[in-house]
Symmetry: C2
Subunit: 319 residues, 2 copies
């Protein structure tokens, strides 16, 4: 899937390490732990690929932006892990588990700042700064909304879509759009890339929410049914709340702040029987078709092929 940018991604790994270098060994250790904890590098990959569609493509010019995007993503994960009290992510100990909440909060701030410092050094068009800072405030807003509206038996699918837009789709949109923007793609290509990133982002988060209901802790590297227990109502649950005969029982569980694992398992059973999971999978597939359809023929064939492969991957992923 990332064949075209294999070398770019290996350079990215080096830049991630150098970006967070400090004169203090304790800070190096913290930064190294979190930046090397893995991940799919999806956001930088989207930027690196999309840049290859531009007339002014330069690897030197796009790599710092790609690095900044991954640093920002890592920062938000560090903060999310504090909020969720998560011990592991991708099977690796979180900052809050390996050190403490202080280190995870400050480590996240450090990575945010390093990302902006990377962008500032490159003298990109101010639009890049603007889009990225706007993205981060949207991410935070999305998470705040998720928190202030937890444990509510949500039936409105649009509220859910607005939340996952801010939480995930905006980020993939910005990554895909800015990569090409920096490399001088046309205005209409820029819009198409943004729409593509948005659509795969929506599909990605819907799939994530389905996996949280289907998978066990082991394959996910984080606790399963985490959303339910945390009071976060996702698409399969919304479907069941609207369509299941047992929607009253389900509503009682999702609004219960002292929900047990047994209750969560009963909720999952209700959702499964209602067809909510199939519905969510169909919605994800619909978003992926939107993503494929929006890509113009004016972009290089190999870039388009890679974008298609990413859409396929998101449709099939089970981890």
């Amino acid at each position: 899937m990332f064949e075209l940018i294999k070398e770019d991604l290996s350079l990215l790994e080096n830049m991630l390490l150098n970006a967070t270098k400090s004169t203090e060994e304790s800070i190096n250790e913290i930064a190294r732990h979190v930046t090397l904890a893995g991940g799919k590098r999806l956001r930088p990959a989207l930027a690196l690929l999309s840049a290859r569609a531009g007339q002014n493509y330069s690897r030197e010019k796009i790599l710092p932006l790609a690095t900044a995007l991954e640093l920002i993503h890592t920062a938000t994960l560090a903060h999310d892990d504090v909020i969720d009290g998560a011990d592991t992510r991708r099977g690796v100990a979180t900052l809050n588990a390996k050190w403490n909440n202080q280190i995870a909060i400050l480590g996240g701030d450090y990575l945010f700042a390093k990302a902006f410092s990377f962008i500032a050094k490159e003298h990109y068009d101010p639009y890049v700064n603007y889009r990225i800072s706007d993205l981060i405030s949207n991410l935070a807003e999305g998470e705040i909304l998720q928190d202030t509206r937890a444990y509510i038996a949500l039936k409105d699918v649009n509220v859910y879509y607005e939340r996952i837009k801010r939480k995930t789709a905006d980020f993939l949109e910005v990554a895909t759009e800015l990569g090409g923007f920096v490399a001088g793609i046309t205005k209409s290509e820029q819009e198409a890339f943004a729409a593509y990133g948005h659509a795969i982002g929506m599909a990605f988060q819907v799939t994530d929410d389905v996996l949280d209901m289907e998978e066990t802790s082991e394959s996910l590297g984080k606790p399963a049914a985490n959303d339910l227990v945390s009071g976060i109502v996702t698409l399969p649950v919304i479907y069941a709340l609207n369509n299941s005969e047992r929607s009253g029982e389900l509503a009682a569980i999702v609004t219960d702040r002292h929900q047990t694992i047994e209750m969560a398992e009963r909720a999952i059973e209700i959702v499964q029987k209602s067809g909510g999971i199939e519905f969510a999978k169909k919605e994800a597939a619909r978003f992926l078709n939107e993503a494929r359809d929006v890509l113009p023929d004016t972009i290089p064939k190999e870039v388009k092929k890679s974008f298609f492969m990413i859409a396929d991957f998101i449709g099939e992923r089970n981890f």
Copy 2:
């Protein structure tokens, strides 16, 4: 002290409110609570004053930068309050106390992002972006160092100065320097302003650390002797560790992670008898003299007068 920029500061209050406006009422409420919780507005005041020394001074140009500086300061305080588990600041409930840690972490991220988005909109010279992102990573580094080196009987005053440089002095330095920079002061004025900001910042933090030992919770609006109990060794304590006959007893207290209020009170007594507090006050006064001496005669008289008044205020403040 802020007579010259009284009107600017009242415009700043409006901008702080508008800067954090969201389409979501819950986010407005959170942002309003934290930005209106008061504070001396020292950082924006320094930027607003210093800008008045520039040939290209424009109030419209400097206000967004001043707003961004206060937003960043507020963001770091929100995160600090989570880390310290503080319930009040300036006598007002903290975000973590009024809502929860989640809201305080995400609220801080939201304010950071809004600050960068403000700066991006103004199209300042990239040097502004660079200095500010570098400042934030330094702030986080300073706090991480404070955390990873807590509960150590520190005797080296230079380690302390390096820490408070990152924690406080860098911020006042950047505020004073960038205000003038944006308004076109000369290179040598820029250096002088940076040195002034640094020196008052050092004095400010030393004074803060003295107050933490001298004052009660009521006058500070936060728990007194907080540093000692948290394992943070400040200048008066370092002096006593080097000079008191009871330095062994003091070392045993400051390295004890289960320190009680009674132990902290005994430590304060040892520090007071050693002359550590007088020493720290003299050091603060020395920094303030450095600050006054470094200001050039080329800057407008009323700006210089205001800078002197700020130095006087920091020397005399007892809250």
